[in-house]
């Protein structure tokens, strides 16, 4: 018995050491040192991979429109990168602490966010839409007055809802859009406000859930997604240049068609 216990202790200690060693390694790679080796340095890109079709996990890998676009842009810029799934709230905190060098996660460019972060040129045009059960009396955004609305916490969906109906308990904030939609099916909220691409993707993939998408361009203005950087990042200029080339070369259109099945409105992106 005593021998067995000793063996166990040795195993536990060894496991602890290995865990510690792994910690040491990961801090080494993520420290933003070595500006002299610029270009060869691996760029860490953060995302919240629960936002299909922009980024989501498929068989353990992050895939989606953003992932493909990022790959094209980084190749164009000749930069080595690693895309990490770190979650929505940690994404912003990690940018501030410079733990990650940039983020791509269907992030809408807003004036508020611009105060704390830098954005690339816009790469996607989006609008907010309302997701309700089929047969719901809701026809436009104003019909949602007095109803409970589900949103993903700290997204522009929440902003749009609060702009129309004010802050308060009638707006329920969920960790991810998927959980908000599950709550809609559960009956806990009457509607979900989210980005059009996500809502359409959900309805397309779950026809038996009997949900419908309501567009309301009168009450929801267009928004643009951008890649996000810490303030005064040197990376921004390079990425902007590469993004422009990817859009002009037709690569962007190719990726767009692959994920959304239609032509992008390139002129509106370029106007921005």
């Amino acid at each position: 018995m005593l021998k067995m216990k000793k063996g166990l202790i040795v195993a536990v200690v060894a496991a602890l050491f290995m865990a510690l060693a792994a910690c040491g390694k990961s801090t080494e790679t993520s420290s933003p040192s070595g500006a002299e080796k610029e270009g060869k340095q691996k760029i860490t890109v953060g995302t919240d991979a629960a936002f299909a079709p922009f980024e989501y996990m498929q068989k353990g890998k992050i895939v989606g429109f953003d992932a493909d676009l990022l790959d094209a842009v980084m190749k164009e810029a000749g930069l080595d990168y690693e895309l990490k799934n770190i979650g929505w709230d940690p994404l912003f905190a990690s940018l501030q602490s410079k733990e990650i060098d940039m983020g791509i996660s269907g992030i809408t460019i807003t004036d508020e966010r611009k105060q704390s972060y830098d954005f690339s040129a816009p790469y996607f045009e989006a609008t907010q839409v309302i997701l309700v059960k089929q047969g719901s009396p809701v026809k436009n955004a104003l019909d949602l007055k007095g109803k409970t609305i589900g949103v993903q916490n700290a997204t522009t969906g929440q902003e749009a809802a609060e702009k129309l109906f004010g802050k308060g308990p009638h707006i329920k904030k969920f960790e991810t859009t998927v959980v908000a939609i599950m709550e809609l099916l559960n009956g806990g909220v009457d509607a979900v406000i989210t980005d059009n691409a996500v809502a359409n993707e959900y309805v397309k993939n779950n026809p038996n859930k009997k949900l419908q998408v309501i567009e309301d361009p009168k009450n929801f203005a267009s928004e643009y997604y951008g890649m996000i950087f810490p303030k005064n990042s040197e990376l921004k200029a390079k990425v902007d240049e590469a993004l422009k080339n990817v859009i002009n070369s037709g690569k962007y259109t190719e990726i767009y068609k692959k994920w959304f099945g239609k032509e992008p409105k390139l002129d509106r992106l370029k106007q921005q």
């Binding site: 709230d89 704390s116 700290a154 329920k172 959980v179 806990g188």
Partner: protein, 218 residues
């Protein structure tokens, strides 16, 4: 360091509402956990292995799976079977009760079995029935020993109620996340949240110390 107290002030009424929800679900978890846990603990002590089986597996399941998973299963899986529109706060209270019952059952069992066998034999030889011996001899001694592990379990339960945020149950942590999400700031909301939880758990551990002293035989 700039510390924006205005965020805390703005969210104070929400933190207050969140505090009430947290206290409510925690109390529900403690009360129903105790009742259900006593029942399960007694079941697990049965001398018949067939009766024992479901109770052991209840404990295996609720102690062996993460609480977040249980909360999601209860809210999106189990509750819709019984209610047309399950309420997130109710789902959270149910999950916490079911989860703490598993731990409470083991605390009951450990407490009762820790009393020397001679106590039961002595009581029986004085002419007491099994139930009387339990009621007047075993349980009074056992309950005293259960106070520290119960305090432990219920402190964990209060902290674990913060997982209710995954189903948007508006408890303290939910509002902390909402504030952090609105201002993209970490210190102000989460320090406030930590402070409120600390107040709750400290009160509970003070209460446990008081009970321990009150029932001390020394």
């Amino acid at each position: 360091m700039d510390f924006r107290f205005d965020i805390i002030v703005e969210y104070a009424p929400y933190f207050w509402q969140g505090l009430l929800v947290t206290i409510g679900v925690s109390l529900a978890g403690i009360v129903f956990g105790l009742i259900l846990g006593l029942f399960i603990g007694l079941g697990k002590m049965s001398s018949n292995p067939i009766i024992r089986l479901p109770f052991s597996w209840y404990i295996n399941f609720f102690r062996g799976t993460p609480l977040v998973v249980q909360i999601l299963l209860v809210h999106f899986g189990a509750m819709p079977l019984f209610f047309a529109q399950p309420n997130a706060v109710a789902s959270l209270a149910v999950s916490l009760s079911l989860n703490s019952a598993a731990y409470v059952a083991e605390i009951f069992r450990a407490g009762i079995q820790s009393i020397d066998k001679g106590q039961m034999e002595a009581a029986r030889s004085l002419g007491m029935t099994h139930a009387q011996a339990m009621r007047y001899i075993i349980l009074p001694q056992a309950l005293k020993r259960m106070i520290p592990p119960f305090a432990n379990e219920f402190i964990v339960l209060i902290k674990d109620s913060s997982l209710g945020m995954v189903i948007a149950a508006p408890e303290i942590m939910y509002w902390g996340k909402a504030a952090a999400g609105e201002y993209y700031r970490v210190w102000e909301p989460y320090l406030t949240v930590a402070f409120i939880y600390l107040l709750l758990t400290l009160s509970l551990s003070k209460l446990s110390h008081y009970l321990e002293r009150k029932y001390s035989t020394q």
